[in-house]
């Protein structure tokens, strides 16, 4: 399974980016390979529709679950339709390493 985490920078010490559509990076953690890849969010500077364009990006990477601080109104239906689970992380100060650890245990 692949889990995407919205990240403020492209390393494991980076904090969770609270925004989904306009996050700086996506950390994509593969639970089988136990590896994390970092991708710059190509949609972060979109004038409109950053949320749906971000969904397009992570879905094309085969992500099944997405962890962020919040999700905008337009993406909820799209993510539901694509059967990608949304997880709102309650602790915005967590680092990517901490979140990966948390979810690799489960």
């Amino acid at each position: 399974m692949k889990i995407a985490i919205t990240a403020t920078a492209n390393n494991s010490k980076a904090k969770l980016d609270n925004r989904f559509g306009r996050c700086a990076y996506f950390a994509i953690y593969d639970t089988e390979l136990q590896q994390t890849e970092y991708h710059e969010n190509p949609a972060k500077a979109s004038a409109e529709g950053a949320g749906p364009a971000s969904v397009q990006f992570i879905a094309s990477k085969g992500v099944n679950r997405i962890i962020s601080g919040e999700f905008g109104g337009k993406v909820k239906d799209i993510l539901n339709g694509l059967k990608i689970q949304m997880v709102i992380h309650g602790q915005p100060d967590s680092t990517i390493a901490e979140i990966v650890q948390q979810f690799s245990k489960n």
Binding site: A43, S46, E48, G49, A50, P52, A53, V55, Q56, A59, S60, G62, K74, I78, G81, L82
Partner: protein
């Protein structure tokens, strides 16, 4: 000739000015129209009552993609400037995010496989009321849940008659709905009030209108309340002061009943007559 009445800050008296100005101008025999451009919450009808002449539904075109004909070539998505098409070839999924579609038609043009047709979606309505023999009121209204009122505002203003003097009651703020209104006007009347909030939003409106290269002047409503901070600003910036409307409790009483001060309080009929003359002088200057 189109004159927009706008404000920046909400609640400064746009509708008070536009409805009373309309009333005074139509009484001169001039062919007059008033357009309520605040499509998200129109309220001019609370003050101006007439017989419904015509109701038109406004629509937009939304692409419908036939997934059986689609080859997932990606051309439509590439043509869409608004991120309104999501395509995942790996799972044979393509879908339209309706709220993001701007009805530009580029995706239909891009598709080489006849996979995209368009459906109509109702976005709102335009209601036309006859007011006496020489005037009418056009009210724009968005459907609930419609993402932007901008297309409806444009469609309503496009119905203005060329030979009429048309007043546009603008939505508040200085964002897209305001711009959609004032960009179609020949002259803009900014209504403000002598409060720090009034001044702050007046400055934002002035900056926006200067970038749009529009002629404009200012009406100070609730004059006498607070200090002379608006006059100081207008003098500094060389902006025309069109009229003062005093801070008068009788205005609030008449307005709260849904009546017009130019009907109920004779001195305001004179004041709005003067305002009309001042606006026309500025328009011709």
């Amino acid at each position: 000739m189109k004159i927009a009445i706008a404000s920046g800050k909400g609640g400064t008296g746009k509708t008070l000015v536009s409805t009373n100005l309309f009333n005074v101008i139509r009484q001169t025999g001039q062919k007059t129209q008033l357009i309520d451009c605040d499509a998200e919450e129109p309220n001019v009808c609370e003050f101006i009552r007439g017989k419904v002449e015509e109701e038109t539904l406004t629509t937009t075109h939304i692409p419908v993609i036939d997934a059986r004909k689609c080859t997932f070539c990606g051309k439509c998505q590439e043509y869409c400037s608004y991120n309104a098409i999501i395509m995942l070839p790996a799972i044979k999924t393509i879908q339209v995010v309706e709220d993001l579609c701007h009805d530009c038609g580029a995706c239909v043009y891009a598709c080489q496989y006849d996979a995209i047709t368009e459906k109509e979606k109702v976005t709102g309505s335009i209601t036309q009321y006859a007011i006496g023999s020489n005037a009418d009121l056009l009210e724009s209204q968005t459907e609930i849940g419609i993402y932007s009122p901008v297309p409806i505002i444009g469609q309503t203003i496009n119905m203005a008659e060329a030979e009429a003097l048309t007043l546009l009651d603008s939505p508040p703020g200085t964002s897209c709905p305001f711009i959609a209104t004032v960009e179609r006007a020949d002259y803009v009347v900014l209504v403000t009030e002598p409060t720090p909030f009034g001044l702050n939003d007046l400055k934002l409106s002035v900056e926006t209108l200067r970038r749009l290269k529009k002629k404009f002047g200012v009406v100070i409503n609730r004059f006498g309340l607070g200090k002379e901070l608006i006059e100081d600003y207008l003098k500094r910036e060389g902006i025309a002061l069109l009229e003062h409307i005093p801070f008068d409790k009788r205005i609030a009483r008449v307005y709260a009943k849904g009546e017009l001060i130019t009907e109920e309080l004779p001195e305001y009929h004179d004041l709005f007559g003067k305002l009309y003359q001042n606006i026309m002088k500025q328009v011709q200057a």
